[in-house]
């Protein structure tokens, strides 16, 4: 630690701070603009804080122009629905792939690995056609159901279950637990960290997903936060920046706050998914 020369340290901090100014500028300016009245927004005088506070007006306008809260609620419903379904499907499958001996296991695992490689946009057209034929377009089902199968979730949980020693399950069998109880009482509590990592990835992915909601949702009431942002922007015809920035603050806030609250988990989780590609 003390081998680091002071000058070098100082230089590092200076460079990192300069970088931060650029990287964080959009966030800072977004918040700053959401507090300003139009005349200050359109002035070329740079200032972080408004001379005249206009936050109440901007945010009020943002919430009344479009159903922002509704978008956020949709986001919560969709991400929670997707994650719950993914878990319900992936956990038993991952457990079986990791811990049970049965014919066809290796083939199935190979299929999971192949599933990992397929980008989310590839099956979009047939999925759309299916939903169209089922009459499910423009519904929560259209937003949630296509993502019920998560190859990544199965893969991640299976890798985790693999690390649980067999003897732990044998001990449980001798202690009188059935297979189902082993899954619920032993495996799930142990798998908490892995499930959280998976949760982070799933939530970040689907909260931010734009491609799919754009395709299947027409009604404003069902828009997820990203799609809602777009509706808002189009509504404003891109000129009333104060309320628009207030809207983007509201839309980005949930994930940013979640991220700040559970930084390490987030970074670990997203790093894992980066590993996957």
């Amino acid at each position: 630690m003390n081998r680091r020369p002071l000058l070098g340290q100082l230089l590092r901090h200076v460079v990192l701070w300069l970088g931060l100014v650029i990287v964080l500028a959009p966030f800072v300016w977004m918040v700053s603009t959401s507090l300003k009245p139009p005349n200050e927004i359109f002035s070329t005088q740079l200032s972080l804080l408004p001379h005249k506070w206009f936050a109440a007006e901007n945010y009020h306008k943002a919430f009344t122009k479009v159903p922002l809260l509704r978008y956020l609620l949709n986001g919560v419903i969709v991400t929670a629905g997707i994650f719950a379904l993914q878990l319900a499907v992936a956990l038993p499958c991952a457990y079986a792939l990791a811990k049970l001996r049965f014919r066809g296991r290796d083939v199935l695992f190979a299929l999971v690995l192949i599933g990992l490689m397929i980008p989310a946009q590839a099956p979009a057209i047939p999925r759309y056609v299916m939903l169209y034929q089922l009459g499910l377009l423009d519904s929560y089902a259209a937003l949630i159901l296509p993502f019920a199968f998560s190859a990544f979730g199965i893969f991640l949980m299976r890798q985790f279950f693999k690390t649980v020693p067999d003897d732990l399950m044998n001990a449980a069998r001798i202690d009188g637990l059935g297979e189902f109880e082993i899954l619920c009482r032993i495996m799930l509590p142990l798998a908490m960290p892995a499930m959280l990592a998976f949760g982070v990835i799933s939530i970040v992915t689907h909260w931010n997903d734009f491609f799919w909601p754009l395709i299947v949702i027409q009604t404003g009431d069902l828009a997820t936060p990203p799609l809602g942002t777009l509706f808002f922007r189009n509504e404003e015809a891109g000129s009333d920046f104060g309320p628009l920035m207030a809207g983007t603050v509201v839309i980005t806030a949930p994930l940013v706050l979640l991220f700040l609250a559970a930084q390490r988990r987030f970074i670990e989780g997203v790093t894992l998914s980066g590993m996957k590609g």
């Binding site: 020693p165 003897d167 732990l168 044998n170 001990a171 449980a172 069998r173 001798i174 202690d175 009188g176 637990l177 032993i186 509590p189 142990l190």
Partner: protein, 354 residues
């Protein structure tokens, strides 16, 4: 309260795919007996134990515990307890939770076991209190009473070992199965636990099958030792007899350290334990002449390695520390078995008596 039960195996076989792991294993273990399964790594000891426990199915043969056929029964219904090499403690439960789980599974129904809700069902409180009392008793008797609220991650190896034993003891099973339970402990603790385990088994009077590849454990702890090599039981006998009177050359070679001296002769082998090998003058009557390759001073004894023409490996003679001889490397000496201490085996390695 302890129920005792003998265990009997009759012609048990097991294969994994094409690999035959157990070949026709038959064995009778008496009530309250301490039997050790001894054999090198990979010989099938754990597989046999797991078959007895019901964690693995035997391909053929019969298993009974306390006179009751158990082949088709699940592990939980066989009334046995098992202690694993890795201890297999539940990492997310406290020590008390670990020890109490087998009781909870047996005494409370599925509803009562539910987290939180279960607490409010009739009978749950009484059952829980009873379990807590018994857990405390067992913990006390193993000297881990003060650790009940800790998680396994906060325990030392020896303490984990005791918790695993406590979990096995708490429901008074008909038999204990232990799979190399001491191999993760350091040398000193291992010797101490050896004594404690033996003591425990005598006190409980329970049947115990103990798997190990450590001869010292097998020899010091057991009533009888079953030596297993490559999936076959070679010999089942008390430790002393196993050492002095092995049935096959393989057993003779496996048991004893340093290894028994094997000298090929016409139509078979002669084998002599190092302590039965006398170091004499090179030209003494009946002695094999050779040259000393190496002398290992062990403190209480010295091991003299002697190269003898016609024998591939050097023969070893054990020399008491009190002996007045001081053998030197390179010295020409003679080796002579003590009278009546030579074991003879035929070409297939089967003992030839008389």
């Amino acid at each position: 309260m302890t129920k005792k039960a003998g265990i009997s195996l009759d012609g048990v076989t097991k294969s994994f795919g094409a690999v035959e792991v157990l070949r026709d294993v038959s064995l009778d273990i008496a009530d309250g007996e301490f039997l050790t399964l001894l054999g090198p790594s990979g010989c099938g000891k754990s597989t046999l134990l797991r078959i007895i426990a019901g964690l693995e199915r035997n391909d053929s043969g019969a298993i009974s515990i306390g006179g009751r056929r158990v082949d088709g029964l699940r592990a939980r219904d066989r009334d046995i307890a098992m202690v694993f090499q890795s201890y297999a403690l539940y990492p997310h439960m406290t020590v008390a939770g670990n020890i109490g789980l087998p009781l909870a599974m047996r005494r409370m129904n599925a509803w009562q076991r539910l987290p939180f809700i279960g607490r409010f069902l009739p009978g749950t409180r009484a059952a829980r209190a009873g379990i807590a009392r018994e857990v405390a008793d067992v913990a006390q008797s193993l000297d881990i009473g003060q650790l009940l609220d800790r998680k396994p991650g906060q325990l030392s190896g020896g303490q984990k070992q005791r918790v695993a034993l406590g979990r096995a003891m708490v429901r008074h099973p008909a038999a204990f199965l232990l799979d190399e339970p001491l191999s993760n402990l350091d040398a000193k603790l291992r010797v101490q636990m050896r004594a404690e385990l033996t003591e425990l088994q005598r006190r409980l009077g329970v049947t115990m099958i103990y798997v190990t590849h450590d001869q010292a454990e097998a020899m010091t702890m057991s009533d009888r030792v079953a030596v297993m090599l490559a999936g076959k039981l070679q010999q089942v006998a008390p430790p002393r007899k196993l050492y002095d009177d092995p049935e096959t050359l393989a057993v003779a070679e496996f048991v004893g350290s340093p290894k028994i001296n094997v000298i090929p002769v016409d139509g078979g082998f002669q084998a002599v334990r190092p302590e039965a090998m006398e170091l004499v003058a090179a030209d003494a009557a009946g002695a094999m002449a050779g040259r000393i390759r190496l002398v290992e001073h062990m403190g209480s004894e010295s091991l003299v390695h002697v190269e003898v023409p016609g024998v591939a490996l050097p023969l070893i003679a054990r020399l008491d520390a009190l002996s007045d001889r001081d053998p030197q490397r390179g010295e020409a000496v003679g080796l002579r078995p003590l009278p009546g201490r030579t074991l003879r085996f035929d070409a297939k390695g089967v003992r030839v008596r008389g």
